[in-house]
Subunit: 328 residues, 2 copies
Amino acid sequence: MKTLLLSIDHVRSSLSMKEVIQAVEEGYQSYDAGMVQQPDIVSMEMPANNGETDIKSCYNQLNERISVKVASGFYDNGKSNDLPTMIGTILLFDGKTGAPLCIMDGSLITGIRTGAAGAISAKLLARKDSKTVAVFGGGGQARMQVYALCQVLDIQEVRVYSEYKDELARYKDEVEAQEKVRVVLCDTPEEAMKGADIAISTTPSKKYLVERAWVQPGTHIIAVGADMAGKNEWDPEVFRGAKVVNDSISQCVSRGETRNAILAGVIQESDIYAEIGQLVAGQKPLRENDQEITLFDTTGMAIQDNVTAVKVYQLAKEKGLGQYFEFI
Amino acid sequence: MKTLLLSIDHVRSSLSMKEVIQAVEEGYQSYDAGMVQQPDIVSMEMPANNGETDIKSCYNQLNERISVKVASGFYDNGKSNDLPTMIGTILLFDGKTGAPLCIMDGSLITGIRTGAAGAISAKLLARKDSKTVAVFGGGGQARMQVYALCQVLDIQEVRVYSEYKDELARYKDEVEAQEKVRVVLCDTPEEAMKGADIAISTTPSKKYLVERAWVQPGTHIIAVGADMAGKNEWDPEVFRGAKVVNDSISQCVSRGETRNAILAGVIQESDIYAEIGQLVAGQKPLRENDQEITLFDTTGMAIQDNVTAVKVYQLAKEKGLGQYFEFI
């Protein structure tokens, strides 16, 4: 049998952010409906090489596809070699036969499906008239979140802060070229938060950047960076009284920003309002007034990779992209 | 960068059982020396499709390779399609950079590395003059165990029993063509055990086949079939007083034949004599007399896949086998 192979370029030309947002929404709903088997994340660490490897896998009963993503972060890459820091590979198997259908680069998909998650939360929870976005971090995910958000809201200003100031000029150029927004470079986190309707954090920070006092009533927060124990971007006090939504409660409680708020004693697990899939499915009220602070904590779920990769696979086949290889 | 792709035929022509036995011995030693990070096995089940998928992954600090094996069993394959029941795919990543080095078929490797495990245990624990082997099951693993055993001992007779009698004629033809042994087809498990120096069980049985009374003093038992809760090939009484060796104690206690003996109250975890890696490393006495019953319970470890796949990868590169694909 033939397995389709797709490079990062094939993946890039196979799908748009709009399609990914739709696919991830459907994925969240499948998860909420109990159609998804999603084993715990597998983690291996290579501290001597400043690297880590995670495996996120799931079976989605709705599309009958098993997905396995092997994603690595090796933080010395680019110095002694020309490899990217983040490398990912996604395998799709037929859930009816176990046959390997497709193997594709997964680096781009991780970025784009995470961007999509943020946008879905904003569509559901941000104020409809949101125009100004604070962004923390100036890397790939700081771009993806804005690109995705611009698909669902009429964003006009991006106020970006990064500890690494030298990356911000390029960030501004690229984001302004891609979307009809004005990018304002900010010297402090507090400055970035000024007038923000939505605030997105995408850093690897281990000590929080954003104080509770800087968050205005009515803000929607998208907490992306904290995806393992020890990472922290937000003052835990931000969680007090906020409408807290998780992608997966079990994951966010064990490795997300939500973990920090629980450890700090600000909230308990029972204070988490909902999983995002429940909101997509219309099971609970969304934002209830313009004063509420809403907070979406996302640690990244295998179902996002599953539905995005299946979409890529379908579109690549339609477009005749990629090469085939017969493993068996 | 280029990733090497190897089909089942490339894998087959890349390595011999002898090399795999050596590689797996080295793997067991790395594991024993604490050089291996081996996360828990990930399992997904597709009962509606009579299928299951496991992921076995590890990082071997000795060869600096991360391996991920995705292995499926879909037991209706071959009826409505022409796919094999067991399908596996192995990915090798560079433990220094996370780069995907090689993707290969893993179906054959699972069989061959499991055969190698049995032979390693026999080399260490069976009586040196062992000549007669009882084999339960007539499938692929029932062949592999014999092929591997013939590398390490002077086996002359194979006494095979299978519930599926119609597969035995082909088993006899193939094994006799491959090795200098006489294959005797047996009507009952008791008949297979007559005069056996070594007894190997490779069935998916859920109720034990072999009674304690049929096991002669001095026998070495290789328990392969029971690799998940609910499977059982041996009367738990066989464990009483036996020298019990596991590949991984944590795995065998939770999903191997050893689990059944513990649940039956015949032994406790503390009665397990050693992990196989300790014996390979010479840390404990092996068989101490000709009367002792020794028992090796193997559930299959990711480190076996790792070292075998790395060997395949090296040899395939030397021989110029396979194709390359650039994912990134």
